[in-house]
């Protein structure tokens, strides 16, 4: 099987356009985005997205490519970030000549050092043991952050100033847009590096060890050291993400190290799809957008997100990317178009059901938690959707929407299934 990749590349000539085009498109996309969304808040969201992408890609080197589930990966990102903030402090106070753009590499090296130390004992086994050790180390470092105040700054964390370094080509990074392009360049560099790491023999072996460690050992490779290399590389890139975080937000606290952050990167990566390189990228973009948009319109967005995550694990363990790539075969067969109408028909009752359910939850939440006497609620904070959450009518309406939507979905499901099977068969009907 290993001979397939090179021969395929050879057939396509010296430049492999199928490989190159997505990257070029991504670079153009990154360059153009701030011209379309120029507001400061949009730039903040995009920076946040880029950092999450780097972190989730690093995380997927463990989970997706190496089969190691970590509950404490925020440690490496956090430590890298803390180190960068301290470097910024040295630049400011002792006039060290470190230009801001190369700070993330130091964050990466710091993350790498810790990964080298911790990986020595944690990568001995994969699976549950690795998960437990990572959880223990994560909790340990998070708890230490309140003890070792000199490095972690205790409760209030440590903060720095990115504009104090020597200027690079006249940029001092006081503007958000400069930080955006800096983050974007680092995103491209690290994503490329991680992609090519997955193509190296070590990266391929990580897949082998994930799928069958025993066989890999029989072929003569130490499963433990293959895991160790992946772990170190992942720690390095997580540290880079930490450095980018430090440059963007100029402050790191205990929150950057704890289980919540470690858990959310697992959520992002799994939602996106752990089996594909682009999975974490999709996950990070969708998650950040959902988080930003949903938190504007509802107070219980974390409940929706938690539900979405559990449903993803149960029904779509390959994530959003898996859902997209499921359509590769219909596309090859040229039958993607036949799915549009069934999807559109399914969308109507599905949307009715989901909106009804969400409305029901929102009303229940308001009825239970609003202050005494404040009985008028605005659904999703829209002015024109005002009603009394204690009256029966909205409840009846939402339940009716749920029932009708569910009934519609049930009725349409066999048709959708038939259309899907038909789109996946080569014979023309």
């Amino acid at each position: 099987m290993s001979t397939v990749a090179p021969s395929e590349a050879a057939r396509k000539g010296p430049v492999n356009w199928a490989l190159l085009l997505p990257w070029l498109a991504a670079i153009v996309f990154l360059a153009v985005m701030p011209l379309i969304f120029a507001s400061n808040s949009a730039l903040t969201i995009m920076n946040q997205m880029a950092i999450t992408i780097v972190f989730a890609l690093a995380y997927n080197m463990l989970l997706g490519q190496g089969g190691m589930l970590s509950f404490g990966h925020a440690v490496y990102m956090g430590l890298g970030g803390f180190f960068c903030v301290h470097l910024m402090g040295y630049v400011e106070n002792y006039e060290w000549q470190i230009p801001t753009p190369i700070l993330p590499i130091f964050g990466g090296l710091f993350g790498l050092i810790f990964a080298i130390v911790i990986g020595l004992f944690s990568t001995r086994r994969a699976g549950t043991v690795f998960a437990m050790i990572s959880l223990g180390v994560g909790e340990l470092v998070a708890a230490c952050s309140l003890i070792v105040v000199a490095f972690f700054g205790g409760e209030e964390g440590v903060s720095g100033d990115r504009t104090m370094g020597p200027t690079v080509f006249g940029f001092d990074f006081a503007q958000k847009i400069e930080v955006y392009y800096l983050t974007a360049i680092w995103l491209v560099i690290s994503a490329l590096a991680m992609f090519f790491f997955s193509r190296t023999p070590v990266g391929r072996l990580a897949n082998a060890v994930r799928d069958n460690p025993e066989r890999a050992e029989f072929v003569g490779y130490s499963a433990r050291f293959v895991r160790y290399y992946s772990f170190c590389a992942s720690g390095f890139f997580a540290g880079i993400a930490g450095g980018l975080f430090a440059i963007n937000f100029e402050i790191l606290t205990e929150e950057n190290l704890n289980l919540v952050t470690s858990g959310s990167v697992l959520l992002v990566t799994f939602l996106g799809g752990i089996g594909f390189f682009v999975g974490p990228i999709i996950g990070a973009i969708v998650f950040t957008l959902l988080q930003t948009v949903m938190s504007l319109y509802t107070d219980i967005w974390q409940l929706y997100l938690g539900g979405l995550f559990v449903l993803t694990v149960m029904f779509f363990p390959r994530g959003l990317a898996g859902l997209l790539f499921m359509h590769w075969r219909p596309h090859q067969l040229g039958k993607l178009g036949t799915l549009v109408v069934p999807y559109a028909r399914m969308f109507v009752p599905g949307a009715v059901m989901i909106l009804g359910f969400a409305g029901f939850l929102e009303t229940a939440f308001h009825a239970r938690h609003a202050a005494q006497g404040n009985e008028v609620m605005k659904l999703f904070k829209f002015e024109f959707l005002q009603y009394d959450s204690h009256s029966a009518l909205p409840w009846i309406l939402f339940v009716a929407m749920m029932v009708a939507g569910a009934y519609g979905c049930r009725r349409l499901a066999p048709g959708l299934k038939a259309a899907w099977d038909e789109a996946n068969t080569a014979r023309s009907a």
Binding site: G67, F121, A131, G136, E139, L259, L361
Partner: protein
Amino acid sequence: MSLILVNLIDGLVTGLLLFMLSSGLTLIFSMMGVLNFAHASFYMLGAYFGYQISTYVGFWPGLVIGPVLVGVIGALIERYGLRRVHQYGHVPELIFTFGLALLIEEVVQFFWGKGQIAFNVPESLKFALFTISGNAIPAYKVFMIFCSMGIFLVLLYILTRTRVGMVIQAALSYPNTVEALGHNVPMVFMGVFGVGTALAGIAGVIAGPTVGVFPGMAIQLGSIVFVTIVVGGLGSLWGALVASLLIGWITNFAAAYSFRFSTIFEWLGLERPANMAESLLRDAWTLTFPQIGPILPYLLMILILVLRPYGLFGKREV
């Protein structure tokens, strides 16, 4: 001396509470091979259910109905959630239980809000049972000890002396053989999962009045429970007991003695830095025992995993 006695009792209470969680967790692990990340969330659900029922009919019915409800929810989740994810492998199972823990926390916040809830010790147990040189020992603590010990003994009896227990033990090691003999093994699994979560629910109802009922209580205890069963050895009931008591005592004693680490440094002949604010080692000089108390269980776990991956009593490597 009396302080030691008081701490021994406090540590026993903490340890036995931990054990009610870790015993269920370790049983579920040896059965399905998956660590239930959401186990402490069932403990939290138990506390909230106990509180809600106690507002209607009082504490004692809550102590019975709450855990039963938690057990039913647990069994349903096993039947319709975990069993479905099982086919994808252990890592997705662990991720599923992790997602479940997140979801339960959000659901609890949905119903009861983010704040702490006033769940009080029942009136009938609101008195000091005895005093140890001035330190009053509340009756509720003694009740907690007897309650958890009683449950442990019942569990041990069922597992080792009854027919049901035999089937469970057999199903743990040879599920296929037991199934071939005509027992409904998936049903046994569901039952054990339900009972395990119900045990966590009892722990929640009992602990609620003393540790406080709030949405973070699952996370607060959850990782410690994992540490406990890893230290004790995955799948070992006795190991879970010993490790629970060990961790209960370690954390209580560390919190009670405000020993300063600077005394060690001074004894070693090291000089106290003149300018504390500038010294990089200032944290080491001001470090006290209560400060490092919370991280001791994690240190213990890492030590155990590095030195003895079987845990204290485990038969197989984790």
